[in-house]
């Protein structure tokens, strides 16, 4: 290079790495004040929660094995593993955890949950069922996979139809599974139009889903609200709050109006509906 920065100071007029500037001191996740408040104080629940928080599948397997020897499977899930996942969601929401941390925690959660389910022997009552798909002709499935992961690790049954899913298959899956909500993901101008078709087809079948959430690159709120049942989904982790709202009886019309309130944070895309 013929040119170079002479000294560091000069660069302050060109760029600033704000992420470094605002970074707080390193703390263990379990010492975070919001996590502390909700941590189960007693064993075996504390260890179950910690295994999930640290995203350690092996530790979760051991902890679940130990816990199941003395504790009912439902308690293992609800008072232990789930508490850990709640902490993880809180850490992610405030920026202390990154997505890979969340995924590893979700994996650990699933390890424990599957063991507890096996011990239970019968199907555990889930919070509700959600059907998820990526629009016909569209391969972009990262957002959908995140939605599925967040919902599953928060106790929802998810029928994951995959990507490039024909509209007719979406409708028949909805008829069969009777979900509390349907999530669609599309990222392209020429595939997002399928949301509209699916909405029309559902309407013809006399089905009204409380919510029909969608997200993605080319997809904007205006478009999603141009057909019935459409609710514009912004962040994948909002899906659990939206599903909770659906279970609590909120309709798609309520969700459009109350989106920021339901997900509990400022959402730029809904700035006019704070």
């Amino acid at each position: 290079m013929t040119l170079d920065w002479e000294s560091r100071e000069n660069t302050d007029f060109v760029y600033r790495r704000y992420n470094v500037i605002v970074e707080g001191p390193a703390i263990k996740p379990e010492d975070d004040k919001d996590v502390k408040k909700n941590m189960p104080p007693k064993e075996p629940f504390r260890e179950l929660a910690l295994a999930v928080i640290h995203g350690d599948s092996d530790r979760a397997r051991e902890a679940t094995k130990t816990a199941l020897a003395s504790t009912p499977p439902l308690d293992v899930i609800e008072k232990g593993l789930s508490k850990g996942m709640d902490a993880v969601s809180a850490l992610y929401a405030k920026g202390a955890y990154f997505l890979p941390d969340v995924m590893l925690s979700a994996d650990a959660m699933m390890v424990g949950m599957n063991m507890a389910d096996a011990k239970l022997g019968k199907a555990r009552e889930k919070k509700g069922t959600v059907v998820s798909f990526v629009a016909e002709g569209d391969p972009h499935d990262i957002g959908k996979n995140l939605v599925v992961m967040f919902l599953r690790s928060n106790g929802y049954e998810v029928v994951d139809l995959g990507r490039d899913v024909p509209n007719a298959d979406v409708v028949s899956a909805v008829k069969k599974a009777k979900p509390v909500m349907l999530t669609g993901t599309a990222l392209m101008t020429t595939t997002m139009t399928n949301f509209h078709h699916v909405s029309d087809m559902l309407k013809k079948e006399g089905i009204s889903l409380p919510i029909f959430g969608c997200g993605g690159g080319a997809v904007k709120r205006d478009f999603v609200e141009s057909y019935d049942m459409g609710v514009y989904g912004v962040k994948a982790f909002h899906a659990t709050k939206l599903a909770d709202a659906a279970v609590a009886g909120k309709t798609w019309k309520d969700m459009r109006k109350e989106y920021p309130k339901i997900v509990g944070e400022f959402v730029g895309e809904y700035a006019d509906r704070l």
């Binding site: 040119l3 560091r8 760029y15 790495r17 997505l99 002709g137 569209d138 997002m192």
Partner: protein, 462 residues
């Protein structure tokens, strides 16, 4: 039979690399050349929502994109431009749609070329419609329709064909979501390279029957996806040091298209092309600050440094206050290219190049990696192990890690704890990996097929 593999760099030193200049320039019809001493602006615009309802509507839509771009090019006095159409699903899935859209756009460009003498080119980027979990990547109807779409485009007036193939995506997605660098290396460096060879041998063969260049293939599904997920400085979905490593790995993979006979201009989007150009000297397209219509990056100027084609990224086809987007965004890339070309003509090109580089070299570790002097080092690591796709991808990542660590130690680049920790963690995993391809593949094959239901080893001959 094995393909040719690069074991030497195209340039002796990084300073020889410059925008608008490639060791091996490429000519196309309508008078256009790439890497021949000037930078060519490019524009691409996505067909409007609803235009997929019929072939006729889609063809009209594409024709109007071409007309609006060419009209603006002449209006503001651009000497040359490249129009790119990134296929939407329907243009590849129904090859006759792709062919008819190409024909309509080619006719518009030819008319402007004949009337004004403006140099122009038409790039068609076919969509990779294959789905690994639905029958695999090879020999399915999806696979065959891509070949047919390439042929239709080549036959109907495209000056070049590009792609963004998805080989290795199933494993890569698993890895990027969990911060598993070994899976990222296996997905992009090994599986991606295997699929590229399959895909590009065929694409080159098809193009050779027509007056159409097989251009190349950027790692959108890897390097770009990871960059997009990593986001801005406050993003919390993937570490920026990890994104830099993924991009270094992707250069080893994207090189395969050239090794199969692709000529450039290599497609933008993955941002790995500075490294690839250092190795093979073919012209490259790049995007950065004029792709803000599509995504935000943290190296908007830097990527101009050695670009031969300067591009936007697919934008909505609609009206801005300044007019329809094909004209608006061509105007943005057109003026930037004019600046670079003025620098070349006045003997100031290397100064401008270095200014571009310096604005972003330490804004983010991804910029540090891609700064042309550092990219050159990574390119060197790749060719040292050039014959082995796995080893060269691993070497690229390790050299990238060295480059970033040195800049950090010299206090030129600041890193967060998360960025530094993840860099150190990934580096020690990479260092511990075997030095034999077969062993690495064996180890990965013991683990990933059972963890990743959408991964289809058959698609890679494994």
């Amino acid at each position: 039979m094995g393909i040719f593999r690069y074991t030497k760099l195209a340039y002796r030193e990084p300073d020889e690399m410059l925008f608008g200049h490639a060791k091996f320039p490429v000519s196309a019809h309508w008078g256009l050349q790439f890497g021949a001493g000037y930078v060519v602006p490019e524009v691409k615009v996505a067909p409007e929502a609803g235009s997929e309802r019929s072939k006729e509507v889609m063809v009209k839509e594409c024709e109007s994109i071409a007309e609006q771009a060419a009209g603006r090019a002449v209006d503001i006095g651009l000497p040359a431009f490249l129009l790119e159409q990134e296929h939407v699903y329907q243009q590849t899935h129904f090859p006759d749609w792709g062919g008819a859209c190409t024909r309509a756009q080619a006719d518009v460009l030819e008319r402007f070329h004949n009337e004004y003498g403006i140099k122009c080119g038409l790039r068609q980027t076919v969509g990779d419609t294959r789905l690994e979990e639905r029958g695999g990547l090879r020999g399915t109807d999806y696979d065959n329709e891509i070949a047919e779409s390439i042929e239709q485009c080549a036959k109907n007036g495209a000056s070049d064909i590009a792609a963004e193939t998805m080989g290795g995506k199933s494993v890569l997605d698993y890895g990027s979501m969990r911060g598993d660098i070994r899976a990222i290396l296996f997905g992009i460096g090994v599986l991606g390279s295997i699929d590229m060879e399959y895909f590009w041998k065929r694409a080159v063969r098809i193009c050779s029957h027509y007056n159409c260049n097989p251009a190349g293939d950027t790692n959108c599904s890897g390097a770009n996806s990871v960059m997009y997920i990593a986001g801005g400085l406050l993003g919390k979905d993937f570490s920026h040091t990890g994104a830099a490593l993924a991009r270094a790995i992707s250069a080893a993979r994207s090189l395969v298209a050239v090794e199969c006979g692709a000529t450039g201009p290599l497609k933008d989007c993955g941002y790995e092309n500075t490294i690839v150009k250092a190795i093979c000297g073919v012209p490259i397209a790049q995007e950065g600050k004029n792709a803000v219509c599509a995504h935000a990056d943290v190296m908007g100027n830097l990527t101009c440094q050695v670009a031969d084609v300067w591009s936007n990224e697919s934008v909505f086809h609609r009206e801005e206050m300044g007019g329809p987007t094909p004209g608006v965004w061509l105007q943005a890339t057109g003026y930037e290219a004019a600046l670079m070309n003025t620098a070349i003509q006045t003997g100031n090109a290397k100064i401008l190049r270095d200014l571009y580089t310096l604005t972003d070299k330490y804004r983010d570790p991804q910029g540090t990696l891609l700064a042309y002097d550092n990219a050159f080092r990574v390119a060197g690591a790749i060719v040292e192990y050039g014959k082995d796709p796995y080893l060269r991808a691993r070497a690229a990542a390790l050299e990238c890690s060295k480059v970033i660590t040195e800049a950090y130690d010299a206090k030129k680049l600041m890193l967060t704890r998360f960025e530094l920790d993840s860099l150190n963690k990934y580096t020690s995993v990479l260092e511990g990996l075997p030095m034999e391809s077969e062993r690495f593949i064996d180890e990965c094959m013991k683990e990933y097929p059972k963890r990743i239901p959408t991964f289809d080893p058959k698609s890679y001959g494994l």
